[in-house]
Amino acid sequence: MKRPIFNSNKSPRVTFCGYSIPHPSEARVNIRVQTTGDPAREVLKDACQNLMLMCRNVRCTFDKAVEDFKASNAVKAMKIDSQDSSGDDSEESE
């Protein structure tokens, strides 16, 4: 999508980049990239690569966060169970 445009904007090799959609009925996007000397095609490809790596990073972090959340929820559920049972024990002993 248009994210590689913003991605390449952040690169110090790019002086100008932008996109436009000439007409909403036809699925066409005009992308313009202007660089400080490097071939523009390479810069755009690098921006896409960067975005791909970022997405992989996002996926890894997200999966780990979901796993941690599920694990901590499971621990909480066990703790609540053990608290209930220990509460009963202390009442019985007294």
Partner: protein, 380 residues
Amino acid sequence: MAEGAGEEKKKFSIWDLPDVPVGQLPPHLELQRSRVSCNKDAPIHTESIQYSGAYASMGIDNSSRLDRFSNNFRVEVVRLNEDDMEFDMIGIDAAIANSFRRILIAELPTMAIEKVLIANNTSIIQDEVLAHRLGLVPIRVDPRLFDYLSENDQPNEKNTVVFKLHVQCKRGSPRITVKSDALKWLPNGSELVKETRNATSDSSSKPETYTYFGCSQETIPEFVKNPIIPKYPDIIIAKLGPGQEIELEAHAVKGIGKTHAKWSPVATAWYRMLPEVVLLEDIEDDLAEELKSKCPVNVFDIEDLGKGRRRATVARPRACTLCRECIRGDDWEKRVALRRVKDHFIFTIESTGALPPEVLFTEAVKILEDKCERVITELS
């Protein structure tokens, strides 16, 4: 005399002062760069500073590098149920967050009923209305196990799921409501026989139906324990009076939300930026009580300072809905600042049931990666 004064003037740089921190933006610029200030009439500083050389004169590098991104990026899950989840994404740009939201709504594939073959419909619900309603019923099946059905393909067990609906309201019995649990899954494919013009009397061969199933879908391991049914059994599809009957067969295929909203896997998916509420000056006693009562979601709290004096504090900034009640009225804008953090997004995903929400988000990220790959291969 003027020349003498000019020669003695040395070049003065602000960075030479001892207490100016180098390598960081001054606080007012940092506020502009990282926070959206929500004023009484409109928010300002909403765009993210994209240009890599934006703060070059200060010696700050604004370019985004992958290592900095991976160090700063965090995900924190707040709530995770079977059908919905809420999580925070910190350190990401608004453009990527929006891409994920758009892909979740429009480009994740699902299975939904597309073709309805109606054998008999004597109810008051018209054929097309009935077909439209059936299309919107969410089906509990993993769309990744199926292929797309294009125009030239024949419907077979790899790209179609067949349901049957046969309900009858007998004369003399009360009106019945047809709910979605009346849809029965046919793992062996269509049962309606196609009428063939050439009357070849091949009584030994199987009659031709509307689908060409090679094998029964029940044999696929994922469906052995989980039969394919609509996710919610109590969706009202039609109502029948005495003597009315509906007999139809529905074929579900894979599609994406862009074509029709029935194929959208999320009830909805949205994000908001983390609210930051800052008290610009100390608000005490009566003003504090007034502030606390103004906010409809109880963002503010009163704390006791001792000697009967009370002070207002910000207790739950995350609950702020930006109703701007706290800055309405004279002078309140000088006391309370409402801001949003530009790179902290609170994402909420509500799934319709085909896939759990965390799987939906992972699939959306995968789709964005695939798109990038396609652009790269096209460019080479």
